[in-house]
Symmetry: C2
Subunit: 306 residues, 2 copies
């Protein structure tokens, strides 16, 4: 994984290799759902729409950071990506963010129908838990039953009313807030995306039997990285290239969205993202060389263009 | 549980006692979600809207039929009721059945908002799996981890694309079918409600460590009972009392819904429901006296008025 010329870690190759593995399993899982069915087609449309696979890659990279075999983290990684995709489908619905495009393609309800999109989301969420409770149907390597139950607990806690679902609720409610404030924004992001990113590394670490100390370090890393991701997302909405991002820029301002640049300004937001990434990288010290991929992912977040 | 005067089984007392236990736990679970939040209020609105609790009662009764302590079946029973409620919330949405009333009360999206209803459903579905993976947060008695994972597999299989979600999809698609046919209708009901009713008794039986033979008998019972429930549902839509049912009658015909009376006539539908219940009861023979509550529930389905 070292670039031969510069003896540096080759992140894009690392990401591509893991994305390919994850995409292979996601395709296999969907095919087993019966591709003749409209419901499966809608699920596949959104799952295979070309996402970054940040969460599942973090899941595998966390297992590797703990010197484990990341094959054991694959069920968790795939379940998390399916659950992440369900959340995007539901967030895009007319009653929510009412988005026509996602990753440069028609959103699920635009391509199919609103009812189909609701059900495709429900199906993906539920199937994520089937994968984790019956991994032998989809994977050759998987954690033991006790560990699988722990992973289900981690993910269902992060995805539900204690996390992502409440975060989206806070996002919807933020439009009606009289006073926009930074604490609300941070909590909202922690709930909406932070907890699932934390769950991604936790699932990866637990899959290979990591210890308390490693888990704590990964939680700090993920919390900081997750927030940095949101701050840069807000920055990209102002400065990004719509062609690269596959979505219009400036939409946050038009929709009066609660954002970091809106509250603390663009330059302060950039400094804040940088500090968060530095803190995230610092938390990785205990992993030494095995933490290099996680470190590169956190740093990549600052430079990303989509 | 025997009526003192007639020495007969008192079903209404049996149902009430179990409903009270289930409602107590559901309330406790919701309170732990933070009742200040709009999301939890929306979840509670639908969960506590006064349902029959058929599925969780079946779950407890199945554990009892296998001579087990039904306290072990409570996590599965509560998870199933939360997942059932999520499905009602999503089915009622404007993009689906567009219903204003459910159990005589405003549907979730009418009482709150469409976005809140989608999220309340998502939250309930996800929380069902949290309950099963962290039962110690909510229950004093629960099955061991290996068994909990099996219950999650049973429920996620029945609730997702292999069951309930696909069943609702088939229901939506049935409106466009050129030829209405009985096989489609039976498969649709098996997927939409049958599999979750089968999962209810399976979860109850597995919770107390029932054997293969008992599980097989319960599956036959549940499949027949679930279908009988749907047939009588169609009959009630024609002959029921709107006051008792808490919803308008005749709506299936108005909406050109695929129904048993529509396909085979009202009298044939009644005979069919009766045959299904008889077959269900026959499957219970191996349980002897412990199967009496399940038998009474199946027979009650024929006489129910809502």
């Amino acid at each position: 994984m070292m670039n031969r010329k510069k003896n540096e870690f080759d992140l894009s190759r690392y990401l591509k290799e893991r994305r390919d593995i994850i995409n292979g399993f996601l395709t296999k899982i969907l095919v087993q759902c019966n591709m003749e069915k409209e419901l499966t087609k809608a699920m596949k449309h959104s799952v295979m729409a070309g996402g970054k696979r940040l969460r599942p890659v973090l899941c595998l990279a966390a297992a590797e950071a703990c010197s484990g075999d990341s094959a054991y983290a694959l069920p968790g990684a795939c379940a998390i990506e399916m659950i992440h995709t369900y959340s995007l489908i539901h967030d895009d619905l007319p009653a929510m963010d009412n988005d026509d495009l996602r990753r440069g393609k028609p959103t699920c309800h635009k391509q199919f129908s609103e009812a189909t999109a609701i059900l495709a989301g429900d199906g993906l969420l539920t199937h994520g838990f089937l994968i984790l409770s019956r991994p032998e149907l989809f994977f050759e390597t998987f954690p033991e039953k006790k560990v699988l139950l722990d992973i289900i607990a981690i993910i269902s806690d992060a995805a539900g009313v204690n996390g992502m679902v409440e975060g989206q609720m806070m996002d919807m409610q933020s439009e009606l807030l009289p006073d926009k404030n930074l604490e609300y924004l941070k909590t909202m992001h922690l709930m909406k995306t932070g907890k699932m990113i934390m769950a991604s590394v936790a699932a990866g670490a637990v899959s290979i039997g990591a210890g308390e100390k490693e888990l704590d370090a990964l939680m700090t890393y993920a919390e900081k990285t997750g927030l940095a991701f949101q701050v840069t997302d807000d920055i990209l909405n102002i400065e990004g290239d719509p062609e690269i991002m596959g979505k219009a820029k400036g939409s946050d301002a038009v929709n009066h969205k609660l954002t970091f640049p809106g509250l603390i300004g663009l330059e302060e937001s950039k400094k804040y993202a940088e500090k968060l990434v530095n803190d995230a990288v610092k938390a990785l010290e205990i992993f030494k060389k095995d933490g290099i991929p996680l470190k590169a992912i956190a740093q990549y977040i600052l430079q990303r263009q989509k």
